[in-house]
């Protein structure tokens, strides 16, 4: 191998190395230099996760050869620390909530540092420009921009650790992130950063065909290549995997069902060796006609993507596949009498809508390390949302007892649903087993993230609505056809959740919904932030505006008239109570914030400028979409000094739940929050059970479990204290780690004297270590009736609304969101900064779905499966103004009344933006995204053909 001698200075340290000519600077910094902060996000210089400062300039370390850096001075996030003191910029990132998962944070900091070094007082525009090359999928950028602005304006950091000066109660306050320092210092270790002794590296070979029979796989050449320790094909792996529907191969067996599906894998000493060996595997395919169109797929006699679906295992009683129809699940909702409802309607309208497949785009791609030990035990370290679900599926698939499977989840660089369930873990386990137990690591390339790992399903919606003249919805008949792609292991639950939420937060007395999860030969779908809801609410909320316009009623009034209210029932028969919250107030707040009463734009665009402006509204609702039995637990372990470790197995992959749980624990245990630690690794060997971190359920369910565990601890502390203080236990009081008996304040005990057991002066000891146990399981949920969908599927509904003002450049079709106001009834704000930043991040992700993101397929092949052609919002794409409102109508089961609000900020952003674009342009839109070309061409056609621009003519019927 050609090597090149180089010297370079990294964070002040001079290094002399011999590097292979093809080694990138990023590989060098992560490898030989052992830094954790530079991150690999794409490898093609699009995402900026690897940004370091080289000779004073921000550069993508993935696009610099180590050899080119000869003589260079390099600075990384680690170098921003000055003798362990955070820089003003790092502190500002914490203070402004500019961090979520933390994977983009070091690169973002470096871009900001390079800017501030060149320009002490940059303008906002200069900041936006300097950070535009750094993708962030969590924060929505605005808090980051504000942090940099603050430093440029001389912001004085609040304090070193942020929390030290804050005292309880913490719940409802703005406790800074407990993971803030690790993330701004770049020392938070993600699976991407981890190396185990003796670890091998895996690469996969994927199918170029959307559908084909695998005739022959020749691996002999690959097996003989240097460094190769294991080669596997589907023939070696007779397993089916899946959370709800066990339909997925680890490597394709006999048939490939989508382009990008893994057909073979290699583990070798280096990533390069594994990649080269994969290239040497010869696969002979016999292409077959792919099933691409969902409407074709469900027709009788259509070719079957899974001819054997009837023989698969699935969660019985909850999901209902239709063999021979390419249908993985059919969810029915039947309420009232739809025919009668339509007969009572004055007018009937039918509209069709479409959502494309999109991707989650976590900045950390899927990655896992597995070790198959000789004694049959397995250890997995994975970037997953749910260690226990990985363990459960693992154990189920391979028949290994659960206690012999250990799953560890450290810091995770974003998930958004895409890392729920199980993904690459089984493959690396099988490779480790084949490589005689050496640990094997796989890191998905960004291209594999798009082509091989799951996306969000596509959706075709048909919504037929019967309304009265005065604007009451009396009947609705809806078909949701989900383009699930090749597998529906998780997707079946999207079809289910979307159905029971599928009429929006409205009263629909007569409702019939058929939600069909349809297999096609495309990359498959899975949960994505608010799954099912963003998709159906695009149609539902566009439909509300279309109906309102047709009836000549203000869309705000039309929504108010039909909103769920106390005494009404949902489409699954759930009675709406005061505990459900105030959707009407959410709507009112956002309408007021954007000045809805004055439909004109707040500042009209100049006449003849080609710019038009408009406003739009949309409602949303969502409850955790999960099986009825999902449970959660927490353990609190007291340490001898009175500090505590709170153990949970929910994963904080950026959403900030650990900070919220620390606040809850501190308040409940009567301790300062600095005394609480939530270890940043969930580990099935040590942390207690939690089903999955999905569905906006962790703060609610985990919060309840922590409350119970903390109260359990206090009970134990008080009972020992009562004995020591010779007072009845009801008389014992605790505050700030101190215990006393009411009326006897002179005799105080510190927690530290009690929590490992109390020892009297004579040595006699009582009590013992205080260990608190808490648990929570949703109360009263039922499976839905298979024929009618009636039942109680939802722990807690969170209602919300968005109001949007947009401007559209009619010359190019470019949509810019000028303002977005968002309101949610969260029951109780647990952490005000986190609620705010969660909404900002979700809104910007929603803007991606609204105006930018889509998978483009050609004959089943994904044409834009990389950051070159799949774009997400950047700093330049954020709305001009974002406003957040939180209502606090307590939920009876929530911790302090709280509801989840993690996914909700994203869903209905497309509906609100779409309605605003329609109001701005006068042209109806039915398909997402509202990208520039779509908007431009629609306006052009509307001008060319002055007749009805609506591609689906409304069907009028009724009296």
């Amino acid at each position: 191998m050609e090597t090149v001698p180089i010297t370079l200075t990294v964070n002040g340290e001079k290094l002399a190395l011999d590097v292979p000519a093809h080694r990138t600077l990023l590989e060098l910094l992560k490898g030989e230099v052992h830094l954790t902060s530079p991150k690999l996000g794409c490898g093609i210089g699009e995402c900026g996760a690897c940004t370091v400062i080289m000779n004073g300039q921000a550069v993508n370390a993935c696009l610099v050869l180590a050899a080119e850096a000869d003589g260079a001075v390099i600075s990384t996030a680690e170098g921003a620390l000055d003798r362990d003191v955070l820089s003003a910029l790092q502190q500002a990132f914490i203070d402004f909530g500019a961090i979520q998962c933390g994977f983009c944070t070091p690169g973002m900091l470096n871009s900001a540092r390079a800017l501030l070094a060149r320009t002490a007082h940059p303008t906002r525009a200069e900041i936006v420009e300097a950070l535009a090359g750094n993708f962030c999928r969590c924060t929505g950028y605005e808090p980051i921009i504000q942090a940099v602005e603050a430093v440029a304006g001389g912001h004085k950091p609040s304090s070193q650790s942020g929390a030290a000066t804050v005292t309880g109660p913490y719940v409802g306050g703005a406790t800074p992130r407990v993971d803030g320092i690790a993330k701004v210092a770049g020392t938070a270790a993600f699976v991407h950063d981890m190396v185990l002794p003796g670890m091998l590296h895996a690469r996969i070979l994927t199918s170029p065909h959307p559908a084909a029979r695998i005739v022959r796989v020749d691996v002999e050449k690959a097996r003989a290549m240097p460094g190769v320790k294991a080669v596997l094909t589907g023939a070696d792996l007779p397993y089916k995997l899946g959370l709800y529907m066990e339909d997925k191969d680890i490597l394709a067996r006999g048939t490939v069902r989508h382009q990008g599906e893994a057909v073979a894998a290699v583990a070798a000493e280096t990533v390069e060796q594994a990649r080269v060996a994969c290239e040497a595997i010869a696969v002979t395919y016999e292409p077959i006609d792919p099933v691409l169109d969902v409407h074709e797929a469900v027709r009788d006699g259509a070719p079957q993507v899974h001819p054997d679906v009837a023989n698969y295992n699935w969660m019985k009683g909850v999901f209902f596949p239709k063999p021979g129809k390419n249908i993985a699940h059919h969810q029915k909702i039947r309420k009232g009498d739809v025919e009668k409802g339509f007969a009572e309607a004055d007018r009937v309208f039918e509209f069709r809508f479409w959502n494309p497949q999109v991707q989650h785009v976590p900045l950390e791609t899927h990655t896992a390390i597995a070790t198959a030990r000789a004694d049959g035990e397995v250890e997995i370290i994975t970037s997953a949302q749910s260690p226990f679900t990985v363990r459960h599926l693992f154990s189920h698939t391979f028949g290994i007892a659960q206690h012999k499977v250990r799953v560890r989840v450290p810091y995770v660089g974003g998930g958004f649903g895409g890392k729920a369930g199980i993904h690459l873990e089984p493959l690396v386990y099988c490779l480790s087993k084949a490589a005689r137990g050496r640990p094997v690591k796989i890191v998905a390339t960004r291209e594999e993230e798009f082509n091989t790992l799951p996306c969000r399903q596509g959706l075709h919606s048909t919504i037929r609505t019967g309304v009265t003249k005065d604007g009451r919805i009396v009947a609705q008949e809806i078909t949701y056809l989900w383009d699930a792609g090749a597998y529906a292991d998780y997707g079946v639950n999207i079809g289910r959740a979307a159905a029971y939420s599928g009429a929006g937060p409205y009263v629909v007395p007569n409702c019939k919904i058929d939600s069909l999860v349809v297999y096609t030969n495309k990359v498959f779908g899975t949960a994505y932030r608010g799954f099912g809801h963003l998709e159906v609410l695009w149609g539902v909320e566009r439909n509300m505006d279309l109906l309102a316009r047709a009836l000549g009623i203000d869309p705000y009034e039309f929504r108010r008239k039909n909103l769920l209210r106390v005494g009404e029932t949902t489409i699954t028969g759930e009675r709406f109570t005061t505990g459900h919250g105030r959707p009407d107030e959410c709507l009112r707040l956002v309408a007021e914030a954007i000045g809805w009463d004055d439909k004109r734009a707040s500042t009209p665009a100049a006449a003849g400028s080609g710019i038009v402006r408009g406003k739009g509204l949309a409602m949303l609702h969502k409850a955790p979409a999960m099986p009825t039995f999902t449970s959660c637990s927490a353990t609190i372990l007291f340490n001898g000094d009175g500090s505590v470790n709170v153990l949970v197995s929910g994963v904080d992959y950026g959403q900030g739940t650990y900070t919220t749980l620390a606040q809850i624990a501190a308040d409940e245990l009567k301790l300062p929050v600095e005394k609480i630690r939530i270890p940043w690794e969930s580990d099935t060997d040590y942390t207690p059970y939690d089903w999955q971190t999905v569905a906006s359920r962790f703060s609610v369910m985990g919060g309840n479990a922590v409350i119970e565990a903390a109260r359990d601890c206090l009970g134990q502390i008080k009972s020992v204290a009562a004995e020591v203080l010779r007072s009845p236990v009801e008389q014992i009081e605790c505050e700030n780690g101190v215990v006393w008996a009411r009326g006897k304040k002179d005799k105080k005990l510190n927690y530290s004297q009690l929590v490992l057991g109390y020892s009297y002066p004579d040595g006699h000891s009582i009590g013992g270590p205080v260990i608190g146990r808490g648990r929570y399981i949703a109360q009263g949920l039922t499976n839905l009736d298979p024929e009618t969908g009636q039942g109680l599927p939802a722990l807690n509904w969170t209602y919300g609304a968005h109001g949007v003002e947009v401007e559209v450049d009619t010359d190019t079709g470019a949509v810019r969101v000028l303002k977005i106001a968002s309101a949610f009834d969260v029951g109780k704000v647990l952490n005000v900064q986190q609620c705010r930043t969660q909404v900002i991040g979700g809104v910007v992700q929603g803007i991606g779905s609204a105006v930018i993101e889509k998978f483009v397929f050609e004959d089943g092949r994904l044409m834009n499966g990389s950051f070159t052609d799949y774009k997400i919002p950047t700093t330049k794409d954020v709305p001009g103004e974002m406003q957040q409102f939180f209502l606090e109508t307590p939920h009876p089961q929530g911790p302090y009344g709280a509801r989840g609000v993690a996914e909700h900020p994203m869903i209905s952003v497309p509906g609100a933006v779409g309605n605003a674009v329609v109001n701005a342009t006068g042209v109806e839109f039915f398909e997402l995204p509202l990208d520039r070309e779509r908007v431009y061409l629609a306006l052009k056609r509307a001008t060319q053909v002055t007749s009805q621009p609506n591609p689906v003519a409304p069907v009028m019927a009724g009296a």
Partner: protein
């Protein structure tokens, strides 16, 4: 990426000798922002990389006494748009350079790499074409100068022989009062490849418009000059004429980034907008 030999010569003669020796199996490395992507994907599998960033003279921006500009092939594009003299003399070039990728990319990408990579959507080509630039090319047999309009042969194809390297681009001194501008249509407000890009100049003495359009053919397309723009003709009429001319010469395709129809319409729009900027009073539009 696959292995290769890495050389970092310091003279042009050494570069061309290395290239000649490698007989087509070498790649010239400047900023690397396109080349490293191709190396990673396996689209490019050279045996030798010749890094030209430390070659004498190739990282310099020079002006002749006559006002000609010579930009070394390894000058990073950020230096081009940050150079006040370039921004004054050749606004289109500064704007095109500033439109490339993200700041991280512009800190590495070079004008030589942008041109030699010969992607139809490169943002420096339309400005350089309308400004009448030429490429200084060195090979084993010596140097030659190639007008930029003859430099590109197709997608990722140029006139460079295997032993040749682009060492500089020369932009002739602007005619008196020459105005120029660049604009680009992309999918997002953030960094993106051009769906269409275009640059135009207006020479007041001859009242001539020149324009070049990228992303609408296998190479960027330099339109024939549109001379004799009547003084009475407003920017709207001149813009329409330029747009009509452009539509006669471009041949866009449908691809994953945009349809041919959108590209055609955006080409016309860019022509109108550029002419408005060159001839009209500011109307507040971009």
């Amino acid at each position: 990426m696959n292995g290769f030999r890495y050389e970092r010569p310091t003279t042009v003669a050494q570069v061309t000798a290395l290239l000649a020796e490698a007989a087509g199996k070498a790649k010239v490395l400047a900023g690397g922002t396109d080349l490293l992507v191709a190396l990673r994907s396996g689209a490019s599998r050279p045996e030798l990389l010749v890094d030209i960033k430390r070659v004498e003279g190739l990282t310099e921006i020079r002006w002749t006494p006559a006002g000609d500009l010579e930009i070394g092939a390894a000058v990073e594009v950020r230096r081009i748009y940050e150079d006040p003299r370039i921004a004054t003399a050749f606004p289109a070039l500064a704007q095109g350079a500033a439109a490339i990728g993200s700041l991280q990319i512009r800190n590495r990408a070079t004008v030589g790499g942008n041109l030699a990579n010969a992607s139809p959507c490169m943002d420096t080509a339309p400005p350089l074409l309308v400004l009448g630039a030429s490429a200084r090319v060195a090979g084993s047999a010596g140097e030659r100068q190639v007008p930029l309009q003859s430099f590109f042969l197709g997608v990722k194809k140029t006139v460079l022989a295997p032993d040749e390297v682009l060492i500089a681009v020369i932009v002739p001194a602007p005619a008196a009062g020459l105005r120029s501008a660049f604009d680009k249509i992309k999918r997002i407000y953030g960094h993106d490849l051009a769906l269409v890009n275009a640059a135009a100049t207006f020479e007041p003495a001859s009242r001539t418009l020149r324009a070049a359009v990228g992303s609408c053919g296998v190479t960027p397309i330099l339109l024939p000059p549109l001379s004799g723009i009547a003084k009475s003709a407003g920017p709207e009429e001149a813009g329409r004429r330029l747009a009509a001319l452009a539509l006669e010469h471009i041949c866009p395709i449908d691809d994953v980034r945009a349809s041919a129809e959108y590209r055609r319409d955006m080409t016309a729009l860019l022509c109108r907008r550029l002419v408005e900027r060159l001839l009209g009073k500011s109307t507040g539009r971009r």
